[in-house]
C-alpha cells in the first residue's frame, strides 16, 4: 500500500536535528544586564500578603502559588521575571518598568508547541509605555493572536502584575 513507503522517510526525519522543547529566547541574566545597562543590582523581594495577594489574584484570575516575588530595582526602574501558565506549561516573561510605564516585555522561555507567536515583537511591542489603571487593567488595548489566546492572556496578565508590583516597591512610589 502506498502509505507504507512513507514510513522510512518519517523515521529519517525524526532522527534529524537536536530539539530543545524548552525554547530559551533570552537567558534571564542577559535580560537583566540589558535592563540595567550591564550592572545588575542585587535582587529584592516583594511579599504577597494581604491586599497584595488579593490584587495579584484579581490580575491573574487565580491565587498565585508564590508568596514572594523577586525583582531588581534601581532609581525609578524595576525588572521582573515572572512565570504564568499559557495552555498547560509556564511561559517565562521579563518585564522592565521605568517611571510606572512598561519599557519592555520579552518572552524569555517558551515551553509549548502552540501559541509561540507571543514571543515576536509585533505582539510584545504593543506593551511599550503602557500603564496600569486604578482597576488594575492596562490603559491601552492589546491585540491578540489567533490560535494563541491563552498565551496572549498569560503574557498580558504578567505585564499587569509587574506594573502593580512595581507600585508596591520603593522604586515605583
Amino acid at each position: 500500500m502506498r502509505m507504507t513507503a512513507l514510513f522510512p522517510v518519517l523515521v529519517a526525519v525524526l532522527l534529524v536535528g537536536a530539539a530543545r522543547a524548552d525554547q530559551v529566547f533570552q537567558p534571564p541574566q542577559s535580560f537583566l544586564r540589558q535592563a540595567f545597562a550591564g550592572t545588575v543590582p542585587d535582587p529584592a523581594v516583594v511579599w504577597l500578603t494581604g491586599e497584595r495577594m488579593d490584587a495579584a489574584a484579581r490580575i491573574l484570575g487565580h491565587r498565585p502559588h508564590m508568596l514572594r516575588v523577586r525583582y531588581w530595582g534601581r532609581s525609578h526602574r524595576t525588572a521582573w521575571i515572572l512565570e504564568e501558565i499559557g495552555k498547560e506549561r509556564p511561559i517565562t516573561t521579563g518585564v522592565v518598568i521605568d517611571g510606572g510605564r512598561i519599557e519592555r516585555v520579552a518572552v524569555l522561555v517558551y515551553r509549548e508547541s502552540i501559541g509561540w507567536e507571543v514571543r515576536y515583537a509585533f505582539f510584545t511591542d504593543q506593551f511599550e509605555n503602557v500603564r496600569l489603571t486604578d482597576d488594575l487593567r492596562l490603559n491601552k488595548a492589546v491585540d491578540g493572536i489567533s490560535g494563541a489566546t491563552l498565551s496572549v492572556r498569560a503574557v498580558t496578565n504578567v505585564a499587569r502584575l509587574a506594573l502593580y508590583l512595581d507600585g508596591q516597591t520603593p522604586h515605583g512610589q
Partner: protein, 409 residues
C-alpha cells in the same frame, strides 16, 4: 524623742540624695555592655526568625507546585468543552449537542499526546438500525514530536488543517449557536482523519503544514451522492486505498490577524469501492480571521472564508456535485463590561453542494445574534437565522431562533 530628729533627718536626706545620684562611669559602661549583649541576642533571634519565615515560604511554594521531580499527574492535562442548545423554528429541540473531554500527556520534552473524546446528543444507544440520538466519537488521538525548534512531526488521528472552525470550535471561540453552514457542509467540519504530517514555523509568523492521511469515501448513489460531508469515515475501520494530501500555509505575524489557505488533493474519493466510479477531488480553502482593538474596551472582529471542491469524472458531473462551494462574511464587535464581555455579530453565508449544474441551488442565510461571556471560558449565545433556500430543491425555509450555553476549560 527630740534627740532622734537629727540622725533620722540626716539619714532621710542621704537616702534622697542617693536616689537622685547619676550612675558612675563604671556603672554606665556596665549598663551599655549589658544592653549591647541584649541587642546582639535580639539581632540573632531576628535573623533566625527571618530564616524560618523564608524556609516556610519556600516550603509552601514548593508544596503548591508539587516540588521534586514531576510526577505523571504534572505531565498529564485534562480539559474539555460542552454545549447545550435550544433550536426553535421547525426543530423545537433541546439538545446537549456535545460533551467533550481532552486528555494530554507530555512524555518528555519532545514528545506529547493530544486526545479528544466526544459524546454527541447526550445519549448513544446501540440499536440494530442505528437510530439512537447520539454518538461517541474519538476526534483526536495523536502524538507530536519536536524534531527541531521549528519543525514538529505528528502521527495519529487528528483534525485536518483547514478552515477556521475545524481545528478551533470550542463554544466561547465563535459566534452562533450552531456551526455555520459553509464550514459544516463544504469543509466539512468537524473533519478528522488518521495520518501523519510535518509542521514548520518561520520566524515571521508563517507556518506550513503538510499531511498525508485517510481520505473521504463518498456515496455514489442516492440523495447524498458525492456530498463531501457524507464521505467522512472518522477512522472507524475506514477504507484506505487512496490517501489524501493536505497542505496549509498560515500567517499570524500581525497582531490580531490570521490569514490561511489550504489545498487538498485526493486521487479517488470513492476509495476504489467495487462498482464506484473513480473520482478525484481537489479542495481549496482560504480565510481571514481578524480581531482588532478599537479602544481599551472594544474589539472589532471580521471572519471571511471561501471553500470550493472540484470533483473529476462524469459520474459526479451527472449529479451536479462536481462543484461544491461556499463562502461567508461575519463582522462582529465585542465589548468589555464590568460583568463579562458582550459581543454582537452578523453573518451572510452562501453554500451549494450542487453547483456543477445549471440550476440555482445556492442556500443563502443571514444570521444575527450575540454572545455573553460570563467568564472568558463560559458563554451564553443567541442567534436568529433568516434562511433563503433554493427554489424547487425540496428544502423549506425555516427561520429560527437558537439559544446556547457553552464552556471550555
Amino acid at each position: 524623742m527630740p534627740w532622734l530628729a537629727l540622725p533620722v533627718g540626716l539619714t532621710l536626706a542621704m537616702a534622697a540624695g542617693l536616689a537622685n545620684a547619676q550612675p558612675t562611669p563604671d556603672e554606665m559602661w556596665k549598663m551599655i555592655q549589658k544592653q549591647q549583649q541584649q541587642i546582639e541576642m535580639l539581632r540573632q533571634r531576628l535573623e533566625g526568625t527571618n530564616k524560618k519565615v523564608e524556609a516556610t515560604a519556600t516550603a509552601v511554594e514548593k508544596a503548591g507546585t508539587g516540588g521534586g521531580a514531576p510526577g505523571w499527574w504534572q505531565r498529564t492535562s485534562l480539559g474539555g468543552y460542552g454545549e447545550l442548545h435550544y433550536n426553535g423554528g421547525d426543530a423545537d429541540e433541546l439538545d446537549y449537542h456535545r460533551f467533550v473531554l481532552f486528555f494530554g500527556h507530555q512524555f518528555n520534552d519532545r514528545l506529547r499526546l493530544f486526545s479528544e473524546l466526544e459524546l454527541e446528543h447526550a445519549l448513544a444507544k446501540d440499536t440494530s438500525d442505528g437510530s439512537g440520538p447520539g454518538e461517541v466519537e474519538l476526534e483526536q488521538a495523536w502524538l507530536e514530536y519536536d524534531v527541531t525548534d521549528r519543525m514538529s512531526a505528528r502521527a495519529g488521528l487528528s483534525l485536518i488543517p483547514v478552515g477556521i472552525l475545524n481545528e478551533t470550535h470550542e463554544p466561547p471561540t465563535f459566534y452562533g449557536v450552531e456551526r455555520n453552514r459553509v464550514e459544516s457542509n463544504i469543509i466539512p467540519t468537524t473533519w478528522w482523519e488518521g495520518g501523519a504530517g510535518l509542521a514548520y514555523k518561520f520566524d515571521n509568523g508563517l507556518r506550513l503544514d503538510a499531511q498525508v492521511h485517510g481520505g473521504l469515501d463518498v456515496p455514489t448513489t442516492g440523495s447524498n451522492a458525492f456530498k463531501v460531508r457524507n464521505g467522512r469515515q472518522k477512522v472507524a475501520k475506514s477504507t484506505l486505498r487512496d490517501p489524501a494530501y493536505t497542505g496549509r500555509v498560515r500567517y499570524t505575524g500581525i497582531a490580531g490577524v490570521e490569514l490561511a489557505s489550504t489545498l487538498q488533493y485526493q486521487a479517488d474519493m470513492t476509495q476504489g469501492d467495487p462498482g464506484d466510479p473513480r473520482t478525484n477531488a481537489l479542495l481549496w480553502e482560504a480565510h481571514v480571521d481578524m480581531k482588532r482593538a478599537i479602544s481599551d474596551r472594544a474589539t472589532l472582529g471580521l471572519r471571511a472564508l471561501y471553500a470550493r471542491w472540484d470533483l473529476g469524472g462524469s459520474a459526479a458531473a451527472a449529479t451536479g456535485r462536481d462543484e461544491q462551494y461556499g463562502w461567508y462574511v461575519e463582522p462582529s464587535v465585542r465589548f468589555k463590561t464590568g460583568h463579562g464581555d458582550v459581543g454582537f455579530f452578523a453573518r451572510y453565508s452562501q453554500d451549494d453542494n450542487t453547483a456543477g449544474d445549471n440550476t440555482d441551488s445556492d442556500f443563502r442565510e443571514i444570521s444575527v445574534g450575540m454572545n455573553y461571556w460570563v467568564h472568558p471560558n463560559a458563554v451564553l449565545k443567541f442567534d436568529y437565522q433568516f434562511q433563503t433556500p433554493p427554489d424547487g430543491q425540496g428544502t423549506t425555509r425555516d427561520n429560527r431562533a437558537n439559544l446556547g450555553l457553552g464552556y471550555q476549560f
